[in-house]
């Protein structure tokens, strides 16, 4: 069923610089399998040989390093990091000399990135292999974030750190599939790849939506054929995954993007007999923390990420008080973060293993009823992508009517945006109102029963 052929593609070597015949066989296996879905896109690890070695070293460092800071006491690396960022990053250089301490750095938010992301890229970052991660975030403003294949690969180091706490050491290598990423959307970026630091174990990003498959029953057959060691997804794709009669469960599930409610988590753990890691992760930051019920929150995962909790005025709050999660550091050398306000809220507590984010809020999955079926809020995002609106809310009433709320300055776009949503929900199903809320807006809301699956 493959619509994607590899060898004829001149960019194949660029996507897989170190690909061996075994790796190619893995790609062929995943694409040519008789139950394979329609892979819509192409991607690759893009890692050069020396970067594969560096990735292994990075994973070893992250595995053992401590998140070594305590309440209100910034770690030793912060001072040099602030000075280097003020020297290398245009946005900070324009502010003048570096301040004496981190608390004197004015926090930035997603709006600052949206106003000019190029200002946040350090001078020394080469651009020839730059990639981007597109994000709409919870405020709905589309943004291209600069990144690099090395940065993308580093995600694995933090997932492995989280898995290792549960005694799971990912081991699938040559001839095996390591990771499957699940989506469940009308439109989904799907592709196959291999992970060179894991001896070219397979990696597939696929869409469980029926439209991507010749036969919906192929979904379970294909997942059993791949037998991935790790399955990653979000609560919505996992809700669909739960329904499939797969017989070869993974060793762990990793949930990102949205709040994983305890009920779904329990069902997943019972159904697949493996732990479910709920990772708090942001495109701007990468994996930040992993939820541990015994700790009552998300244990921080990045040894080089300092977290503050700020009040509205940007002042640090003491441990135990709720405020905005604000991060400094990170592993994306294309976008060093200095007091980046994430838009998410929590309190900070400290345990034997390190800092913990308690009561994390800001993200909540919503699904909508459209023309008799459930659709994902990401499909709504896709429908609204063409429109430059920074604040909106799509609300489904208990009677299934849909209300699109737009900020006053976006009202001229209302007819076009309403038409875009009507293509999903039906011609007369969508009405428009003015959004009165200031600041961060909860984008997706619903009073319809079953919306929060």
């Amino acid at each position: 069923m493959s619509e994607v052929r590899f060898r004829d593609d001149p960019l194949h070597r660029e996507r897989f610089p170190t690909l061996s015949p075994d790796g190619q066989r893995m790609l062929d296996f995943m694409v040519d399998h008789p139950c394979a879905p329609a892979y819509r896109n192409k991607s690759g690890n893009r890692l050069l040989a020396h970067e594969v070695e560096a990735q292994r070293r990075h994973e070893n460092e992250v595995a053992t390093a401590a998140v070594g800071w305590t309440p209100g006491s910034a770690p030793d690396w912060i001072g040099p990091f602030v000075r280097e960022t003020f020297a290398q990053v245009p946005h900070y250089r324009a502010l003048g000399s570096p301040p004496r301490c981190l608390e004197d750095v004015a926090p930035v938010s997603r709006a600052d990135f949206a106003a000019g992301i190029a200002e946040f890229v350090p001078d020394h970052v080469p651009l020839d292999r730059m990639i981007n991660f597109r994000t709409t975030g919870t405020t709905g403003h589309p943004l291209l974030l600069p990144s690099h294949p090395v940065v993308a690969a580093r995600y694995a180091a933090y997932h492995k750190r989280a898995l290792r706490r549960l005694g799971i050491e990912p081991a699938n290598g040559r001839g095996q599939v390591g990771v499957v990423l699940l989506g469940y959307q009308r439109q989904c970026f799907t592709y196959v790849s291999v992970t060179p630091s894991m001896n070219e174990s397979g990696l597939a990003k696929l869409n469980l939506h029926q439209d991507d498959w010749r036969d919906p029953d192929d979904r379970a057959r294909y997942l059993d054929a791949l037998a991935p060691e790790i399955v990653a997804g979000d609560p919505i794709s996992f809700a669909e995954y739960l329904k499939l009669p797969v017989t070869r469960p993974p060793r762990a599930l990793i949930s990102v993007s949205m709040t994983l409610l305890p009920g779904l988590r329990d069902r997943l753990e019972r159904r697949f007999g493996c732990p479910v890691l709920d990772i708090y992760s942001l495109n701007e930051v990468g994996p930040v923390g992993v939820f541990d019920p015994d700790l009552g929150g998300h244990l921080l995962l990045q040894p080089r990420l300092y977290v503050e909790i700020l009040d509205r005025a940007g002042r640090p709050l003491p441990a135990g008080e709720t405020g905005e999660i604000t991060v400094t550091g990170g592993f994306n050398f294309c976008l060093p973060l200095l007091r980046y306000r994430t838009g998410d809220f929590a309190t900070l507590s400290f345990g034997a293993e390190g800092p913990v984010l308690v009561g994390l809020s800001g993200r909540r999955p919503v699904r909508y009823r459209a023309r008799g079926t459930w659709i994902n809020n990401i499909d709504v995002t896709h429908a609204l992508l063409p429109f430059p609106i920074s604040h909106f809310n799509v609300h489904q009433r208990a009677d299934a009517g849909v209300v699109l709320r737009l900020a006053p300055d976006a009202m001229p776009l209302a007819p076009a945006a309403q038409a875009a949503l009507a293509s999903l929900f039906g011609t007369d199903a969508v009405t428009v109102e003015v959004l009165q809320a200031a600041g961060k807006t909860l984008q997706y809301t619903s009073d319809l029963e079953g919306a929060h699956s």
Binding site: N41, G44, S97, A118, I131, Y155, A232, V256, G314
Partner: protein, 193 residues
């Protein structure tokens, strides 16, 4: 530049010895510790009178990007203008702080702390302040003083202009790199947010 001023070295040495308090964080939009308006008013008082309201208003920072560095230059300038030589000149306090505000505006593209840490920038700040107050360094003719200030200022302006052009080009290249099709393809992550 008609009046003979102090030995330039005494001023540049003073700048090199700027106390940490004068390089602390200016208060801008609610953050920072130093109320620059109060500092400037103190300087005016040392010279015998209050600072004009218009100058004090300029010392209230509204935005980090627009004001932080300019205010930091003012702070270092207040330390310079509190030098005993200036105090002995019986300068008009209003004129003095107006000149300080103008010089800070003029030099605000350079990171403020370089006016304490970098010998050339110390020279530039000291010469500029003297010039705007109608003085020249001791031992220099008016022509020499004018030429030396022009040379040092022109070099810095050229550097800043070149840096500005490079920054614009770099920003354009970054936007182009992010928009490339290959950049859209992305690369493997174990999870996707």
């Amino acid at each position: 530049m008609n009046q003979l001023g102090p030995d330039l070295e005494t001023l540049t040495r003073r700048l090199a010895d700027t106390p940490p308090d004068f390089m602390d964080e200016p208060r801008v939009a609610g953050s920072g510790r130093v109320a620059v308006a109060a500092l400037v008013n103190d300087l005016a008082a040392m010279h015998g009178g209050p600072a004009p309201f218009a100058v004090l208003a300029q010392c209230e920072g509204q935005s980090q990007r627009g004001d932080r560095n300019r205010l930091a230059v003012i702070m270092i300038g207040t330390w310079l203008l509190a030098d005993p030589w200036f105090l002995a000149q019986q300068l008009d306090p209003a004129t003095l702080v107006e000149v300080l505000a103008e010089v800070a505006e003029e030099l605000a593209a350079t990171p403020a702390h370089r006016f304490a840490a970098d010998p050339e920038r110390r020279d530039e700040l000291a010469r500029t302040v003297l010039d705007r107050l109608g003085f020249r360094p001791a031992g220099e003719t008016p022509e020499q003083a004018t030429d030396r200030l022009a040379a040092i200022s022109a070099t810095e302006r050229r550097r800043l202009l070149e840096a500005s052009r490079s920054a614009e080009q770099r920003a354009r290249e970054i936007r182009e790199a992010l928009a490339r099709k290959v950049a859209q393809e992305s690369a493997d992550k174990w999870t996707r947010e």
